[in-house]
C-alpha cells in the first residue's frame, strides 16, 4: 500500500465555552490513501466534521487544535501559518458543505464563484478580456463535467435560482476546479431529496475514477457511505470507535454503536423489521467518562467498560474500541 495522502495522529480539538472546555475531537487517528474513498460516519456531535475543518485550518475561534499532528502528502500541515494553509485550500484539499444554498454566496453568480476560485490559485492567467474569456470557458467546462445541462446559461444564474441538486453539483464543480488531490465532502446528500442523493453520489464516484481524487465522505447516514466507500470510519463522541473495509464492517460490526447504526436503517428487504433507535444521549463533551463513551447507552455494558480503552485490532484491517474485542 502506498503512503497515505492525509495522516492524522492524536488530534484533539477543543472549544472553550463559558461552561467549560468542550472536547469536540479527543484523540483521533486516521489515514486517507491516494485515490480511495473513505467514509466517516457518526451522529451530530461526534466530531466528524470538526476533524476535517481542523485539517484545513477552518476552525472558528475560539476553537483550536489542542494536540496532534496532521500530515498531508508527507508534509506536516498542522500549525502552518495562514498564508501557507491558504495555498493548500482548494488547490490540494477541497471541501464541500452540507447545504449548497447556504454555502454558496447568494449575491454572486455561479460564474463569479467558480472564476474566483480559479483565479485564487492560478497566477499565470492572462490579463484583461482574454482572462475573462478563459475563465468563462473553464467554468463552463467544469459545469459540464459535473453533469449540469446547458452549462453556458447556468453561469449567469444565482444560487437561489437553481434546484438543490444542481447547486450541489455547482459546489462540487467549484471544489474540483483546481484538481485537488483530496476532496472532503461533508454531508453531501443530507440536504437533498432521495432521488437526487443517488445522482450526486454517483457523480462523486465518477469524478473520483476520472480524476483520481481521494474522497472523504462524511455523513451521519451509514447507507450513504455503504455503497461508494472502500473503507469506513465510525466516530462517536469525538473518538474513532471502529474502522475497516466497508463491506467487512457492515457484514460484521465490531462495535455495538455500529451495530446500532445498522439496525436503525430501514430496510427494503425486511420492511417488517422494526427500526430500533439507539436509546439515550451522547456523553457530556465537557466531562466525558474516562472509559468507553458509549457505555451508558450500550446493551452489552459491563464494569470493565468503565476503564479507558483504545482501538483494538480485529482481523482484515479492522479495529474497534470495545472490550468485546479480544485484546
Amino acid at each position: 500500500m502506498s503512503a497515505p495522502l492525509l495522516e492524522i495522529r492524536g488530534l484533539e480539538v477543543v472549544f472553550p465555552t463559558r461552561a467549560g472546555l468542550v472536547r469536540a475531537v479527543d484523540g483521533v487517528d486516521l489515514e486517507v490513501y491516494p485515490g480511495e474513498c473513505l467514509g466517516v460516519v457518526g451522529e451530530s456531535g461526534s466530531g466528524k466534521s470538526v476533524t476535517f475543518l481542523a485539517v484545513l485550518g477552518l476552525l472558528r475561534p475560539p476553537g483550536r487544535i489542542a494536540a496532534g499532528e496532521i500530515r498531508f502528502d508527507g508534509r506536516t500541515i498542522s500549525g502552518l501559518p495562514e498564508a501557507e494553509l491558504r495555498a493548500l485550500r482548494g488547490r490540494a484539499i477541497a471541501l464541500t458543505l452540507q447545504d449548497a444554498l447556504t454555502a454558496l454566496n447568494p449575491a454572486l453568480t455561479v460564474e463569479q464563484q467558480i472564476a474566483e476560485t480559479i483565479e485564487a490559485h492560478d497566477p499565470e492567467l492572462p490579463r484583461g478580456r482574454a482572462r475573462r474569456q478563459l475563465l468563462r470557458e473553464r467554468a463552463e467546462e467544469l459545469l459540464r463535467s459535473v453533469g449540469i445541462p446547458e452549462p453556458g446559461r447556468r453561469l449567469a444564474n444565482y444560487p437561489h435560482e437553481l434546484s438543490g441538486g444542481m447547486r450541489q453539483r455547482v459546489m462540487i464543480a467549484i471544489a474540483l476546479s483546481c484538481r485537488p488531490k483530496l476532496l472532503i465532502a461533508d454531508e453531501p446528500t443530507t440536504a437533498l431529496d432521495v432521488t437526487i442523493q443517488a445522482q450526486v453520489l454517483d457523480l462523486l464516484a465518477e469524478l473520483r475514477a476520472r480524476l483520481g481524487t481521494a474522497i472523504v465522505l462524511v455523513s451521519h447516514d451509514l447507507g450513504v457511505v455503504a455503497e461508494h466507500c472502500d473503507r469506513v470510519l465510525v466516530m462517536y463522541a469525538g473518538q474513532v470507535v471502529e474502522r475497516g473495509p466497508t463491506l467487512a464492517v457492515i457484514a460484521d460490526p465490531g462495535h455495538p454503536y455500529t451495530r446500532g447504526l445498522l439496525r436503525s436503517i430501514p430496510s427494503i428487504a425486511e420492511p417488517e423489521r422494526p427500526i430500533r433507535p439507539i436509546p439515550g444521549q451522547m456523553a457530556d463533551p465537557i466531562r466525558p467518562p474516562p472509559g468507553c463513551r458509549f457505555e451508558p447507552r450500550c446493551s452489552l455494558a459491563r464494569p470493565a467498560c468503565r476503564a479507558p480503552i483504545a482501538l483494538r485490532p480485529i482481523d482484515g484491517g479492522r479495529a474497534a474500541r470495545c472490550v468485546e474485542v479480544a485484546a
Binding site: L53, R86, L97, A107, T117, A120
Partner: protein
Amino acid sequence: MRPSALVERLLQLVPVLLGIALVVFLMMQATPGDPVELMLGDALATPEQREALRRDMGLDRPLPERFLHFLGNAVTLDFGQSFHHRRPVADVILERLPATIELTLAAMAIAIGLGVPLGVVAAVRRDGWIDRLATILGLAGVSMPGFWLGILLILLFSVELGWLPVSGRIGFAGEVPPVTGLLLVDTLLAGRPASFFEALRHLLLPAVTLGLAMAALLMRVTRTSMLEALRQDYVTFATAKGLPRRRVLIRHALKNALTPTVTVAAIETGTLLGGNMIVETVFGWPGLGRLVVEGIFTRNYPLVQAAVLLYAVTYVLLNLLADVLQTVLNPKVRL
C-alpha cells in the same frame, strides 16, 4: 431589476406623496392668525384691499379646493411669495439649496467613510481594542445632541486651538463664480486651490457634527451585520476554496452585510435632513435649514411650508434610491 418594477414602485409612491402634501397643507392651516394680516405686515391697507387680497390668495374658497390649488401649484413649483423676501419662495429656496446639499453630502461621506470601515474592523477583530473603542464612541455618538457636539467642537477647534473658523461658509476673499453651487467643486473649477482649502476648512466642523451621529449608528449596524455574515456557511466555503482573507471579507461577507446597513443608512438620512437645521444654526451656515428656522420666527409660512414639503419628498425619494441600491447589492432582494 426590471424597469417596470421601478415604475411600479414610483407609482406606489404617489399616494404617499399626496398624503405628505396633505399633511403639510393641513399643518399650515393650523397657524394662528390671519394670513392676510401676516402678509401685509405693517403695510396700511383698507378693508377693501384686504378683501381683494384675500380673494387673490384664494382664502375665501372651501378647504378641499384650496388643497387642490395648493397641489397644482406645488407640482409646478409655485409656492407663492415669501413674506419676508418679497420674492417667489421657489427662488429663495433654490438660492440656498446648494449650501445645504453640500453640507449634507459631506456629512454622508463622513458617516459612511468613517462608520462602515470601523464597523467592519470592529467585527473582524471582535473584542479587540478597536471594537471596544468603537462601541463606546458609537454609544456616545448617539447620545449626544447635535447642537451640543457642534458647540464643543467649536470650543475646541476654533476658540481654543484656532485651527478652524467658527462659522460661515467662506470669507469674502474666497468667493468664486457659482457653477454648481457646491463650493468645493466651484473653487476647483475656477482654479483657485487656496479658496478650495478655505471652503474645506469652513465645511469641516459642520459636516463632522452632522455626520458623526450617523457614523456611530452605521458603525453599530455594520458591525452587527458583519458578525452575522461572518458566521454564515458561505464564508466558511469561500475560505475553504482558498480565497485570500481580504477577498472573503469584502466580496463575500461585506457585500451581504451591507444590505441592512444600506436600509438603516436610508432611514437615518431623515435625521441628517432634520439635523441640518440645527447644524446650520450653530455654525451660521447659509443654507436652507437656517432659512427655515428664520422663516418660522418671521412667520414666513409659505416658505416653511414649501421647505417642509421639499424635505419630505427628498426623504421619500432617497429611501427609494436606497431600495434600488439594495437590488444591485443583493440580487435576492426584489424591488
